[in-house]
Symmetry: D2
Subunit: 360 residues, 4 copies
């Protein structure tokens, strides 16, 4: 179970890397939202393999087919079924891992938990599953658009190369103009060079994605356990290869005094705002109307195009060199996935917040 | 809503800082577990105010009363209601914040979301709510005990003072021997000194808690959205003042190559283990049998015993100096809360995992 | 688990017949609702034992204490903890059933499922658990009141004695004027006589409760699985001793032709209504603005004050004659419970319906 | 929302009558279950239109395609996506109802709730949605088979024609040998004649389906709100056209005395059983090991091939005569749907029951 995400707006996803299709059902999509299919396909294309030299060579069209819930271009409030066919499987690439556990992959844990596994391309544990998230996220974005809420993520660190300034120092709209999705073109080039270097070695590298949500009204979040940042954190950590989450000042803020970190309330032209935003737009688990921003840490991709020691299913030591087509760094393609999870979370909590009072 | 935590083992909590009581209902507690009331009270005492010079002077006995679900000392499988009366409220300490928003507190967001708030001591947003979590966690620990699973947290950083080595370098059982709950007595003294210094200034300081789960079997975790670390992360981020979560190598690992970070599988006397444990005991969202470890970042306490600018409910600028009794650093008292959330999460996922196969 | 009812408005209940207390937590109660404590206590008194000669002689004050979520008489949107102490336990009345399974009670199934049971007064399976429902229902009614929605139930059948006409033929407000809660005073007397007769024999009798919900707007209900009548049915069937549920024409309607049963739409002064209401106010699982009405069947109480054959825990045949204080017919006291479950369901679905569209 | 059914074993369904496809995702299917595709297709064929003279002439192959979660013929524990393409839509049959509300259909309530509706063939409110339930039910049956649990339903009443004896008097395996699915061939003929007669008049007729579950172990059911019969009742009432549910003696039992209805416990060769089974296999909300049986009432189909008064969307009176292909009686095709909902409920509660105790 637990292939369902969300409370009111809910995505249930299915699909394996080399099965027939990846897809899902979106339930709780608000009725009456105009559906822009081009926009949705563009969102999907942002995570597509083969879109640049930085990403895996696997070629997939990743065309989404909607099966229900949309009538004459508008959402009906009924569940939206969708699927993306897998077309470019090279399943025999994976025959060598049928009986071998790839280091730092999910092979061992799936095998132990379920007693069997679809080993082809990692099966369900493959990041191809995130296609469903991108579709859900694209729909959520269409609903958020009507509310003036935007979600924008970008690569802020690859290996040791990172943006030194906070998100407010950059024009985030430029992030999409380079393959690595970093809003500083010079840093982007350095990141690209690093990824290329690592890739040439058959190795991989990690990094950090920063996400910014603007236009979010005051009031989203459901304490105690449904704090908005807890929901965002849980969502982000469910993305493949994610290893950490922090919002506002996050880990760096632990060295500060309260007198440095507290955000002073001010009256700005009749609206209460905070002078600084160290809180990251969330106080007491509830959005306060300021920008929400957070970081997600991603580990280096586990699949290496170099020999690694490991064991077979029965525990015999062996050596494995991956075949197949793999990313040397997930960051560029993870940017739209971070956005998708954020958009779904925000819409879900927006809808939940509509239940705080009875309305005639 | 969202005052319920968990899927099978579920804690529903209630209560405000200065209301009649804090309490909750634990549903899904396995039947047949022997209840050690002394142990539970001791766990509660670990988070109690006034237990050392480092913590708030508020004196509360925090005695838990169980109301159901336990019969002749054994859990019956029926819901366990419990409460802890609030006895030492000084509500008039808070009359000055009735009409004022405390910086970086939840006053503003609660007022805006709900249209009113119990301002006394922060009401529902007070960390007194975590009493319920400690009770839930203590019960979960009693069940985990039978399975040989232990959960141990400790303070690994306060401000700039931190443990430099990984958890495996310390005897974690010594953490409880000092007020700050740090397993290195020298570092503990430095932390204590820092907190005292900060407190004397009327200021506050943040820090990091590390948690280690030992004895967890392979197989806990429910991909895609119920990955074990996503559940742990969501749980930790729901704790008051938490700003970040990372497991395994976490944020530090983003600078590594895959060839450095991957955990090689080995056959150790017939059992498959990983040579290193950079994965933090979780791979593909499922526990792999190694130790699970993670960090939680806490911001400095928002309540300062010094003057701060802010605004009133109607936006008029004002200055606020907190009265009342407050911690200068939440870390020491947050250690048992981190453990409690971890124990509840692990037990919940242990029970969920019992549904992976049908058993005759 | 499953001691939680509802989706947005959620009651989590706890407590056993002879434990310390019955209570619960209400989460998702809308903020800003004025709380009328007298009204709530009156609702509780309607289900109280000992209120008339027809009911058990057990004397309980059943005074509810609220522990959170209400501030200065108004709901805050935070969870509402409450409890009712058990004060009049005669636990030694039950020592004889410690090792014996009472026929048609839950003794056997609880013992088998959980491996142990609190046998005193039926423990968790006792209808004293419905106290928590009545508190939740009273709160829900206070919210529904603001929306002009009313919920009214009455006893429509006891044994073979029944009201022959549909609910529209009676002044339902008169139901509370007699002990049996039937809106026809003559029939009420016959019912009362029957219950007294049965009681004198140490026997028990079943019956039917009818419930009518007026003022419910169009649009409540969440197909496919959350149809409003499915939610109401599930709610009613969760009441102790309930054996059946039907809405609109229900079972009687199966003999009709579609041309008889269909409800014709009409324009009544600019508002679309149905000419008849065989649908019971729900079409396609969604309320249509007409009165919602349904029946709940209750079996005769299982506890008899006469000798019955049975077996002990180890299967030895024995004979059991109940001691203790018991109702000969649950109907009169079940009326407020049916209302409570209906009120909670309607409020829950009202709030859910507020998420159908995004609202700026 | 609420297009998801179940707690552990969960079906999320999607699709409209005249959209691209009906389908769903099954999450929580136990791992390691052998999948018999022929069996699943046969189950689907039992609800297929056009299978006999009694059912609608709409011709659909209703071939299910599985998209995930099954590997080499065995379930992997990962979500099972599936779909059935709609191929025989005659959407222009429905152009006349675009602006008109069909009596006792969901047109009006959907339009009011969502602000728009897919009017073609009833859209989401069409019983074609139950295809997804039959697929889910077939999978559940495959898991239950391994546990020796069987689910069998049959038509026990059509209009005034009914089986007079309890289920134990019939050989239920013969039910499938006639079009109406009644285990008494003579009564089946009378039912068939009645349906044909009603159909010739352009009218429709209701009826009752009885369902029997054998082999269910003691212990399924989660009081208080998750009583097994409450779950079954909620499940059955979510089926299109269902108007009532009763289990055990149900409504008929309300006229009995407790001394008549109570089920005496007996020791039958070392196993505790009840002498009678008026409880319907469930006591205190938990299965007691006896056969579970219940009835579901279905109203006459709302679509009539005769003129009916109604109004248009703007309230103008009009007359409507249905075109299209419709059943005169849903009972025969609803039998497999009742079984499917029962099988999913039982499997779900079987898995839930596996969490009652911790198991090493």
């Amino acid at each position: 179970m637990s292939n369902t995400f969300g409370n009111i707006f809910r995505l249930t996803s299915f699909g394996e890397s080399h099965g027939a299709a990846i897809g899902g059902v979106i339930d709780g999509m608000p009725a009456g939202i105009q559906i822009d299919l081009d926009f949705i396909q563009k969102e999907l294309n942002r995570r597509k393999p083969g879109q640049s030299k930085l990403t895996t060579a696997r070629k997939e069209n990743d065309e989404v087919e909607f099966l229900s819930g949309i009538f004459e271009g508008v959402t009906t409030g009924c569940p939206i079924g969708f699927l993306v066919r897998n077309t470019n499987q090279h399943s025999n690439d994976y025959s060598n891992i049928k009986d071998t556990y790839r280091p730092s992959h999910a092979d061992y844990t799936y095998q132990q938990k379920y007693g069997l596994r679809d080993y082809r391309g990692g099966g369900r544990s493959s990041a191809r599953e995130t296609i469903a998230r991108c579709v859900g996220g694209a729909l959520a974005k269409l609903a958020l658009q009507q509310l003036g809420i935007t979600v924008q993520a970008y690569t802020s660190q690859v290996g040791n190369i990172r943006l030194e300034k906070p998100y407010t120092s950059y024009d985030l709209s430029t992030a999409e103009s380079n393959d690595v999705r970093c809003p500083d073109s010079e840093v982007a080039e350095q990141m690209t060079a690093l990824i290329s270097e690592v890739k040439a070695q058959g190795d991989t590298i990690g990094g950090i994605i920063t996400c910014v949500i603007k236009g979010c009204p005051v009031g989203l979040g459901e304490p105690a356990f449904g704090k908005l940042h807890a929901a965002l954190g849980g969502a982000m950590l469910s993305i493949n290869a994610a290893k950490g989450f922090e919002y506002g000042l996050g880990f760096a803020g632990v060295t500060q005094r309260g007198s440095e970190q507290n955000d002073i309330f001010e009256n700005q032209n009749g609206v209460i705002h905070t002078r600084t935003n160290n809180s990251g737009g969330i106080q007491g688990g509830i959005s306060n109307g300021e920008d929400i921003y957070f970081n997600v840490a991603f580990k280096p991709v586990a699949t290496l195009l170099m020999a690694q020691e490991t064991v077979t299913l029965d525990g015999t030591p062996t050596t494995l060199t991956a075949r197949g087509r793999h990313d040397a760094c997930v960051l560029p393609r993870a940017v739209p996935i971070v956005e998708a999870m954020a958009a779904m979370t925000i819409l879900d909590y927006y809808l939940l917040n509509q239940t705080t009072h009875v309305k005639k």
